[in-house]
Subunit: 305 residues, 2 copies
């Protein structure tokens, strides 16, 4: 799947991923109105609203982007109907040939970690039958529990030719509380980065590993170090735009081949219609505003090369 | 909810929690047969099987235990039907007045962390209505992202009078890869433990905090240190039994009041019928084997006082 991601980035010339993180507040009134008319102000109504909202954005952007990253928490907060909307979104994006990164940040040990890996990347056996579950192409994984938590995901990656992005240095202000602490002369995130490099060396695609890393756009100096620590890993970069990361700051996250990083924007794209800059589109044409925001983001990021 | 947990532990004289982590391999044949007859070898069939299996165990044990801890990964691996079985299990256990610890190990930042907190502890607004979602009493949370990831859970804990258990030192063999690394003279888990103590001081119950910690039974020396670092936090202790933790090793996890820790056993209880020691019960009476294993575990743990 890393090979497909690389190929799609080259084809679209867009090292970006659109974060499908729908809040009900983001959804235009006309979509909510219709969903609530059909299902009432219920969880099913909310799920229908976020699904239709997503669909609109995917329909106007799928031809110019390589990948999407739905954040499962935003769906989980609407319970089972919300998770059904998540699954529908994943399936729809795959039908549009987009690479789907499930931002699930799961992490546990042994058989539990294996169960998560099955849920998101693999297939489960029921009697003599086998079923795919959420079936994303990539999943994000938390490293706090060490190799025991990662290994079952590596096994699934090998089997299904899928991938993971491991949290290394997150984009949030308090990420340094633990991640930046110095251990034997190096910050924790660097130790985690070295593990990512090691874990990733076991599951190589053509040029990049099935194992990538999450490194926030808000810490470019650390991005520069981590790029060198994990030369074979793709870096998934959150924090561009809304969280304050700039295009210029993204340079160190890329390798000399112009690859190796994929930059996420969520709110900046899916809520573009609420932005002063794109207000001429209006709420009804929210999805066109998203497409324009994607085009602007691609141009902005390509300006650094 | 921490007050209720303390009260229930006192009433049952059982500082234990039963881990409801059903694998399909654990489910007795007669339950699987019935479920597959009704639903076929489908995800719905698997979900029905694990739900009936859980129900049997809850029905025979609820009067002698204070709490259960369903591990959501084991349900997530059966997709949406699996998560419906999770929700059914949570609701059923609550109807039996058990405290439910959702072992979800979620962790993200800002609005995403808030969405997870809503999903598991809170209520979501849809138009003018409000809905509970998975609605566990406690959730487990991963600390790697720092305060930004924890704060939204603290807010929800305050609002709903619920609680969290933060991963501090996990029970698995590789937990030391990052958690044991020395930072300014102290291991990372101790730094995390100090944060747990600080976060917990903001949301106190009568005697213990709404914020507890996960510390594996497999590391009793570290448990002893952490007990002192977080005097007001309940410690949720996995790793007893199957993973090698012993009752004698559990002593340091408790405070002098005989409280402050709750010991989990999953496989040891729910798979008791497969254990040589309880084989006289037979597969049909698997739930009675579980009750006996609970009684033996309570006696074993109380022997240390």
């Amino acid at each position: 799947m890393i090979n497909k991601l690389v190929e799609k980035i080259k084809k679209t010339n867009a090292p970006i991923v659109v974060g499908l993180d729908p809040m009900l507040d983001y959804v235009p009134e006309h979509i909510k109105k219709k969903a609530f008319e059909e299902h009432g102000e219920t969880l099913e109504g909310a799920a229908e609203a976020i699904w239709q909202y997503n669909k609109g954005i995917v329909d106007t952007t799928y031809d110019i982007i390589p990948a999407v990253k739905p954040q499962i928490a935003m769906y989980e907060q609407f319970g089972i109907p919300g998770l059904e909307a998540y699954k529908k979104t994943v399936d729809y994006c795959k039908s549009k040939d987009l690479v789907v990164i499930g931002d699930v940040k799961r992490g546990d040990i042994g058989s539990t970690s294996a169960a998560y890996a099955t849920a998101h990347l693999g297939k489960v056996k029921v009697g003599s039958k086998e079923y795919s579950l959420f079936d994303e192409d990539f999943a994000t994984v938390n490293p706090y529990l060490g190799t025991d938590g990662i290994k079952p995901f590596l096994d699934e990656c090998k089997k299904e030719k899928k991938g993971i992005f491991i949290l290394v240095k997150t984009s949030n202000p308090s990420s340094g509380e633990f991640q930046d602490r110095i251990i034997d002369g190096k910050p924790l995130y660097e130790w985690v980065g070295e593990h990512v490099d090691k874990w990733g060396s076991e599951v190589m695609g053509d040029k990049y590993s099935y194992v990538g890393a999450v490194v926030g756009a808000t810490y470019p100096k650390m991005g520069e170090v981590l790029r060198k620590v994990m030369p074979k890993s793709f870096i998934l970069v959150p924090g561009y735009g809304a969280q304050g990361g700039t295009a210029e700051g993204l340079k160190p996250y890329f390798n000399e081949d112009g690859l190796g990083a994929i930059v996420n924007s969520s709110r900046g794209i899916i809520c573009a219609y609420k932005n002063e800059h794109y207000k001429e589109f209006g709420e009804l044409n929210y999805a066109d505003a998203s497409r324009k925001a994607v085009e602007d983001m691609i141009a902005d990021i390509n300006s650094i090369f």
